[in-house]
């Protein structure tokens, strides 16, 4: 147990005492207490920067279930540290923001902060775990806490819908991921990530390689909202804005990115991984940015923008994975560097933009851009922050988004140089899609700022008179926006401390032999640099498109995209129809009629036993060892058979009872014939008693239902009963014949020999019943006793089924 272990567990423990703060110290906003923990964690994690920058990896081992290879190991390398700093750092800002965003008298804050701390601990667990199973446990905890946070205002229908949707999609991905991890265990015999990476040649040569990759990617894509699993993210915007800022822009949605990056050493270098990751990433980038433009809700724009940006990071990771194929030459690793850099940048500007959206919502009462406008003069600070965030997102100099966008364009251009993986023919798509998507990104970034803060002020549309937000609410986005500017002007303060160790985690030295990545991010590359002209053209076309927005926005209605994302039709169709369809399917066999269930059971019996009998050659008939059958036996059996056949055709109940007991008495006669006096006596007496009981019950049948109808005849029943009879007969004959083939000595001889000497009796049957096998008899009389008491309680206790309730 190290301090890093405690750092992961601390938020969970802290969550437990949050309700105490909420109830006991109600005069102070609970968020102020909560603020302490992420701050401490952030500062603590900062102390690792020098160690990690030196290229070291901090590991701590802690056994959990060693027999299954599941251990709570900490693996803190550059990638994990980057994520951990994002989680705690933005966590601090989000908690501070939420103190001013959530009203302490109207909201149930203890729930909010409990879930938030749970999420923070789970997210730290995901990024710091060195063991895949532990990673999975924390992964599911993030899904759970995320759903709880989305459904925070659970009295709203849309919140519940969004929570359920995100839960279903991310948990199904999580399950797939669990299966993928299990397959990795099958291949390598370990869940420890470093050990799996060490056995990368085992994994890549295995036949399970492709299924594993697909399963793991399914998990990563659902979590990181890649197409077509992105639909949960826009609906997750029903969560309080601090949650959206924290979970759905900066941290949780990047868990999938983290997983792809973390397992890149295992899978990269194969064309399937390259195409899946970069293909899905690019399409998500395009789809997200294209759809963001048509949104009218601030948070919806940001949601689709997040989808698009996540696709962008994913595509960079995909292109970067080609580096493994080319021996990690410096040029091919640039895409991964860009991915890591953009990951940081996205967290900063998207976090600030969400907070801005929250401020606008908080101060005006609406997030609809059709109602907003002209807020610049009311909220100058918010406007400034949003300008910085949106321009950074659009990729405009001098903000950090510009740098990562240029690196992105450069790496996409560089992707055309890849000659393997069929890239000669399809490679040209990469920069084209990137360019188109960047234009749309520019357009929606402009919409976000100018539709909200410029244009006509519409006071009649707004619920409140807009004014600037309180200082506490402004501080977090100001910090993020200053980071945007800081990283924009001085990008290299991160390159050796954070980015290089992170890239080293994606390209481990043990595999690549590359000790040192030369990362130097700069804004100006000279005129001989194609991404520069791409950026200029993006801005030019983007401005043009923004100005002509109303003219070409009809295309969304034409493409039928104006209402909701078409993938939602699939999701809603499945979720809404699965229960009725299941009900219909269930109703087919479950008729509620006992006779149908009996028919299933007998058919199943015939099919299963019959198949087994004939498939394994169990069928045999042997007449050698058969005793001679006397003529009276023939006669008796013929009479029994005849009367048994006649019973179903009798229409009168009394006659049917008499006929049945007739068969019973004949069976007693059979016992006499086969020299079983005890059985014959018992059979006679039991038959008499049961006949009396039958008659008694028949007498008590209620008047109304005394129908003397003929038994219903059905061909299926006939076939089933003949089948069962034939099968049982066959089994009996076969077991006799096979028993003769391999005869075992019968135990009967022992009883016959020892009955007198050991049991003191000459009636062997009785001695067996009371002496040799007395236990059976004892429990049989117990059964009789229970039956008797059961009948009494059925008749005497006239319960009508409501007593227990």
């Amino acid at each position: 147990m190290s301090f890093l272990h405690i750092a992961i567990i601390a938020p969970f423990l802290f969550a437990l005492i949050i309700p105490f703060f909420y109830k006991k110290i109600s005069s102070v906003h609970t968020g102020w207490f909560v603020l302490v923990l992420p701050t401490v964690l952030f500062v603590y994690l900062l102390t690792f920067i020098p160690t990690i920058a030196d290229g070291e990896v901090v590991t701590h081992l802690l056994s959990w279930v060693p027999s299954l290879g599941i251990n709570f190991n900490i693996h803190l390398d550059g990638l994990a540290l980057l994520f951990a700093l994002l989680i705690t750092g933005i966590g601090v800002l989000v908690v501070l923001y939420s103190v001013f965003y959530l009203d302490k008298d109207k909201e149930s804050l203890h729930n909010f902060y409990f879930y938030l701390m749970m999420f923070m601990g789970a997210m730290l667990g995901v990024v710091l775990s060195g063991n895949l199973m532990v990673l999975y446990v924390f992964w599911e905890l993030t899904s759970l806490s995320s759903a709880l946070l989305i459904g925070y205002w659970y009295e709203r229908k849309k919140s519940r819908y969004g929570a359920l949707k995100s839960m279903l999609i991310t948990v199904s991905g999580g399950f797939a991921m669990l299966a993928g991890f299990s397959l990795l265990y099958v291949m390598t015999g370990t869940f420890t990530i470093t050990e799996i990476i060490a056995q990368v040649d085992v994994v890549t040569s295995s036949s399970l390689f492709i299924p594993t990759m697909l399963l793991v990617l399914f998990g990563a894509f659902t979590k990181s909202a890649q197409f077509p699993f992105h639909i949960w993210l826009p609906d997750a915007m029903e969560a309080p804005t601090p949650v959206s800022a924290y979970l759905h822009s900066a941290t949780m949605v990047k868990a999938g990115i983290y997983l792809v990056a973390r397992l890149s050493p295992v899978f990269s270098g194969s064309s399937e991984w390259f195409w899946l990751v970069s293909g899905f990433g690019l399409f998500t980038l395009l789809w997200g940015s294209f759809n963001a433009v048509r949104q009218t809700d601030l948070k919806s724009i940001l949601a689709y923008s997040t989808i698009s940006q996540l696709g962008m990071i994913m595509s960079m990771l995909g292109v970067g994975s080609a580096a493994a194929f080319y021996g990690y030459k410096a040029g091919f690793t640039a895409a991964t560097v860009a991915a890591v850099f953009h990951l940081i940048n996205h967290s900063t500007f998207k976090g600030s933009l969400f907070m801005v959206a929250g401020i606008v919502d908080h101060e005006t009462g609406t997030r609809d851009i059709r109602k907003l406008g002209g807020l610049m003069t009311f909220m100058p600070i918010t406007f400034t922050i949003s300008i910085i965030g949106a321009f950074s997102m659009a990729g405009v100099y001098p903000f950090n988004g510009f740098l990562s966008k240029e690196m992105f364009l450069e790496s996409m251009l560089h992707a055309t140089d890849i000659t393997s993986f069929n890239m000669q023919s399809l490679g040209v798509l990469f920069p084209v899609i990137a360019w188109v998507a960047s234009v749309f990104t520019f357009v929606y970034s402009m919409i976000l700022v100018f539709k909200t803060f410029r244009g006509n002020y519409q006071p009649e549309e707004l619920e409140k008179k807009p004014h600037e937000a309180p200082v506490g609410m402004l501080i977090p986005p100001i910090i993020l926006a200053s980071l945007v500017v800081l990283f924009g002007f001085f990008p290299n303060i991160l390159s050796h401390t954070i980015i290089e160790p992170a890239v080293k985690a994606i390209y481990p030295v043990s595999l690549t032999g590359v000790e040192h990545f030369d990362i130097h991010i700069k804004a100006w590359h000279g005129f001989n640099f194609p991404p520069l002209y791409m950026t200029i053209s993006i801005i030019a076309v983007g401005v043009l498109m923004y100005l002509t927005l109303t003219k070409w926005q009809k295309i969304y209605a034409f493409l039928r995209l104006h209402k909701k994302d078409p993938i939602n039709y699939f999701y809603d169709g499945i979720v809404n129809r699965i229960a009725p369809i299941a009900k219909k399917i269930t109703k087919v066999p479950e008729t509620g009629l006992l006779r149908d269930y009996l028919a299933y059971m007998y058919v199943f019996f015939i099919v299963l036993v019959g198949y087994t009998l004939f498939h394994f050659g169990g069928f045999a008939i042997d007449t050698n060892n058969v005793a001679e059958i006397p003529i009276y036996a023939w006669v008796l059996v013929a009479i029994i058979a005849l009367s048994a056949i006649l019973v179903p055709f009798i229409t009168n109940r009394v006659i049917a009872i008499i006929a049945t007991s007739f068969v019973g008495f004949l069976v007693a006669l059979l016992f006499v014939m086969f020299r079983a006096p005890d059985l014959a006596l018992t059979q006679l007496l039991v038959e008499t008693v049961t006949t009396a009981l039958f008659l008694l019950c028949f007498y008590h049948l209620p008047e109304l239902r005394k129908e003397k109808t003929k038994p219903v005849f059905k061909w299926t029943n006939l076939f089933i009963s003949i089948g069962v009879g034939a099968l049982v007969t066959t089994m009996a004959l076969s077991s006799l014949a096979l028993g003769n083939k391999k005869p075992f000595e019968s135990i009967a001889d022992y009883f016959l020999k020892n009955s007198h000497d050991l049991g003191g009796g000459d009636n062997v049957v009785n001695v067996i019943l009371v002496d040799f096998r007395g236990m059976d008899t004892m429990f049989e009389i117990l059964v009789l006793g229970i039956a008797g008491l059961g009948i009494v309680s059925l008749i005497k206790l006239k319960m009508n089924g409501k007593e227990d309730l």
Binding site: V686, G759, N763, I781, G785, I791, V792
Partner: protein
């Protein structure tokens, strides 16, 4: 119910014959066909005969057994024989027998299995009569 003297008279005689046969079956069981189960059913049928020829209430006054107690007693006897062997260090339900010379009766075989059978007998009598009387008494 009409007074049916001939039935009553025959029943009175027949019941004793049946009951003695039932007791015979119970005791003969160890060496000849018979035993607790059959003896009990025979006893029950004798009492059922009484129920049929007389009134249910009348017979209940004469034979005022509470049948659930009978079942419990029988089970206790059967289990008691099993447990008693454990006091002497033998496994559960070990049966013993010995031949004893008793005046008048002569050489008699005494066995614990008979006690067990007696338990069976009491349970089966109790159960059979309990079921029949309960169903017969039910008016609803």
């Amino acid at each position: 119910m009409k007074n049916n003297i001939s039935v009553h008279t025959i029943t009175r005689i027949a019941v004793f014959i049946i009951l003695s046969f039932a007791v015979f079956l119970l005791f003969a069981g160890h060496n000849n066909p018979g035993g607790g189960f059959i003896g009990a059913l025979m006893t029950a049928s004798a009492i059922v005969l009484l129920y049929i020829s007389f009134d249910l209430q009348t017979i209940k006054k004469v034979l005022s057994f509470y049948f659930p107690y009978l079942i419990g007693t029988g089970l206790l006897i059967a289990m008691g024989t099993g447990i008693s062997s454990m006091f002497f260090g033998y496994p559960f339900l070990t049966q013993f027998f010995d031949h004893a010379h008793i005046p008048i009766l002569g050489n008699v075989e005494l066995t614990t299995a008979l006690v067990f059978d007696l338990g069976v007998y009491i349970v089966v009598v109790g159960v059979t009569l309990l079921i029949i009387t309960t169903i017969a008494e039910d008016d609803s």
